[in-house]
Amino acid sequence: MKTLTLPARILWNAFFWTYERATWQYDLMVIAILAFVWLTPPDWLGDPMASGTGPIGWMLAMLRVYTSSRSS
């Protein structure tokens, strides 16, 4: 394990999970999972029960409006 670079070690530790609950590593994993669940547009996943682009879609739409207003 000592021969791995830092990014590779982070990835390995995320996949080979040995941390307890209520540690900062656990919190980080929970935040990453919630971000995936709530931010990923249901359309991207082909969700059978939900549709729309979700928060990422809204952000992209707002960004598009912002950039078009700046260019005009």
Partner: protein
Amino acid sequence: MTLTGLIGHICMFPLRSIIAACVALRIHPNILTFVGVLINVAAAVALGQARFITAGFIMIVANIFDFIDGKVARELQAETKFGGFWDSVIDRFSDIALFLGLIYLYSTRGRTDYVMIAAIAMMFAIMTSYTRARAESLIAKCKVGFMERPERIVLFMIGAFTNRMAAVMWVIGVLSVFTVADRIIYTYRELRDAPPEPAS
């Protein structure tokens, strides 16, 4: 205190009074376990009918029973080996019931892709428990991997309340695969590094 530790601490307040009530009524923990699975079946039916919010609320009630049975057993000093076995077996039924509810829902919508995703997630969720149980018959402890039952249940509730069940199925599926792999790797390493048993 960490964020998840704080959430756990807050959730324990109402649970403590429920545990105290069950102890005062001297409800047998095995009955609590069984009631939990029955309520989980009701949650699965609600999931199958696409009533996600209802399913979410039913899952909360079901998992209160799941959570408190061990604590009540300890308080009543009624911990038995059979109780542990019963709890593990009934938990698997609860797990499978919820996945079956979703599989039924996706099949009625003609979504074979999500039927497969939910089925694979279910398979690895069960294998997560099996690999640990089997490993712990060979080594002292095998508690590695992220996606255990409490994480699955909380994710099911989040998916139900926010209508993001597809994303939840992906997360449970992928992380359960890693959890099973972690347990196989961990057990292999532990057995490889263990001192050889003396010849009989």
